[in-house]
């Protein structure tokens, strides 16, 4: 898919999920699938989830734009229930994440490896306007590398979540975060958690084994 260049749009404007500038962005519907129970990191989780459905959200509509300074994704999906808290401790907040390979050859599955790590932008509904930038070298290794770099706006309306996540194209973060260059290709993958279905951690819907391609348009 393509991230168009939007001139004269500041971050605040882009963060509004219903801003008119998003209307002209190309939407792509990404089919989601549940993570395989067999790939969960502990035997207890594998056994418990082997006969339960994983991945309640089966598609996500995604758009991406940049303004020459910031890169933004807008995710939208059906969520009949809004889970924005831990409730009575037996539910989990809804969530979404966009992951990126930090080195060529990193896999879109399995949260990276020590040699081929991934970076993640994560949003969770109990902290609706806070995004976490995460670095991971494998399942169970994710570390929050920065809480401040991401800007997020989310809204649940009419049985749908709409989440906009935005960050500077380039950040000083050693090699622990993705860097974007305009007029170049990037790769990303998606994950969505339906907290009401007890989805958390590795129990989630994801966009599949292959990275999704993203071309950043050159500045006009």
């Amino acid at each position: 898919m393509r991230a168009n260049y939007v001139a004269n749009a500041d971050d605040k404007k882009i963060l509004d999920p219903y801003a008119a500038l998003w209307n002209s962005a190309q939407a792509e519907t990404i089919a989601m699938e549940g993570t395989p129970a067999a790939m969960q990191p502990t035997a207890a989780i594998r056994a418990s989830w082997s006969d339960k459905p994983i991945g309640a959200v089966n598609k996500v509509s995604v758009k991406a734009i940049h303004n020459g300074k910031s890169m933004a994704f807008r995710l939208e999906w059906d969520a009949p229930r809004q889970n924005d808290s831990h409730g009575d401790n037996t539910v989990f907040p809804d969530g979404a994440a966009i992951s990126f390979p930090l080195k060529p050859g990193a896999s879109a599955m399995g949260m990276g490896t020590p040699d081929l790590p991934i970076g993640v932008w994560k949003w969770q509904a109990d902290a609706a306007e806070e995004g976490k930038q995460i670095y991971a070298e494998g399942m169970g290794t994710s570390e929050v590398v920065d809480r401040g770099a991401l800007k997020v706006k989310s809204e649940w309306k009419d049985g749908r979540w709409t989440v906009v996540i935005l960050r500077d194209l380039q950040v000083i973060q050693d090699n622990a975060a993705v860097q974007f260059l305009t007029d170049q290709d990037a790769q990303f993958a998606l994950a969505v958690w339906d907290g009401g279905s007890n989805e958390r951690g590795g129990i989630k819907a994801f966009s599949g084994q292959q990275w999704l391609n993203l071309t950043l348009a050159a500045r006009a």
């Binding site: 502990t42 207890a44 418990s48 009575d88 401790n89 958390r200």
Partner: protein
């Protein structure tokens, strides 16, 4: 695998159900906001549903050696923290105001079925069962956590690393004793830490040190001079709760003895104890019945004028001998609040 193992023995014949242990723990570890509903130490009446309600039916642990996830207990099942009109009573200036529960009338609490027990008069019975995290040798929580956020220390204490924990609560599903709580404010799971900051200074656990009934013994299991070693390993009068859960707890219990039953004519029935053996077996397995037989025999010896080293240790004439060397006076230590 830990190098050594700290353990606790609780003598159920001496527990008064006074909850001093619970309050000692509460004041020390769970006073922060969002921890109101947490009771890392509980004392429930048995037979009973306990806390969380019907925890014995919630699953988890290991089955045929394979780890299982069970039910994820809710705040309501734990008994939650009831809200009261403290402001109105203590500073509202209104005459006649008295403490009342606010909001929805609770239908369960952390000690809802206290002193209820079982059986029909005159053969009704109950006993108290204090519980903390069992700091298991095969901890189901450790096995379930996808982030390796739960560690078994070299001294055998099981702790949750709150920096690694993401609050997924697989550990709460996995623990068959349901002694792990979720802190929604911090987004992490929390539980009994066996008072490790005290133990590291040679001071025994707050619940044990403050127990007026002197029911709790603490020490290293391999320390042959410790009471826990003698009671668990040497004399085998202290046994594991629900050993079939497969996690190998390191909190051991001296099972409750009980008076005889009354028969239909009101005479003592010497053959049948008030607490049914089947129930003790359900709680403590065959080992529990064997432990009770040993205690019964020792009691008979003393009743007939003899001496029993086992009973002398259980009576705990000297409190300092209960703690396997962890008998430093906490008042002699300069504690730092973090």
């Amino acid at each position: 695998m830990s190098k050594r193992q700290l353990a606790m023995v609780m003598d159920l014949n001496k527990c008064l159900g006074c909850h001093t242990c619970t309050v000692a723990c509460k004041r020390l570890w769970t006073r922060d906001e969002a921890m109101e509903y947490m009771w890392w130490n509980t004392v429930n009446t048995m037979p009973g549903k306990g806390t969380p309600r019907d925890w014995e039916e919630m699953g988890g642990g290991f089955k045929d050696g394979k780890p299982q996830l069970g039910h994820l207990p809710s705040r309501e099942e734990f008994g939650d923290a009831w809200k009261y009109n403290h402001e109105e009573v203590f500073s509202g200036g209104k005459a006649g105001a008295h403490l009342e529960i606010q909001g929805k009338k609770p239908e369960w609490g952390p000690n809802w079925d206290e002193d209820q027990g079982a059986g029909e008069y005159p053969n009704s019975y109950f006993f108290y069962l204090p519980r903390i995290c069992n700091h298991c040798s095969s901890p189901a929580c450790v096995a379930a956590c996808p982030r390796k956020a739960i560690e078994k220390r070299e001294d055998g204490i099981v702790v949750i690393n709150e920096d690694r924990c993401r609050g997924y609560r697989f550990c709460m599903e996995a623990c068959p004793y349901k002694k792990i709580y979720f802190n929604p404010d911090k987004g992490v799971s929390q539980k009994c830490i066996f008072c490790f900051p005290r133990v590291e200074q040679g001071v025994s656990n707050a619940c044990a040190r403050q127990c007026p009934g002197r029911i709790r013994f603490v020490g290293y299991l391999d320390d042959e001079n410790s009471a826990v070693h003698k009671l668990v390993k040497k004399w085998k009068v202290a046994v594991r709760l629900h050993p079939e859960y497969g996690t190998k707890p390191n909190v051991y219990y001296v099972p409750p003895t009980s008076p005889m039953k009354f028969d239909a004519d009101g005479h003592l029935d010497e053959k049948n104890p008030r607490i049914p053996e089947d129930y003790l077996k359900f709680l403590f397995g065959e080992e529990g019945l064997e432990a009770k037989r040993i205690i019964d025999k020792e009691m008979a010896t003393v009743r007939n004028g003899g001496k029993s080293e086992i009973l002398s240790v259980l009576i705990a004439y000297k409190w300092s001998e209960m703690f396997g060397g962890f008998d430093t006076d906490p008042a002699t230590i300069e504690w730092t609040e973090v």
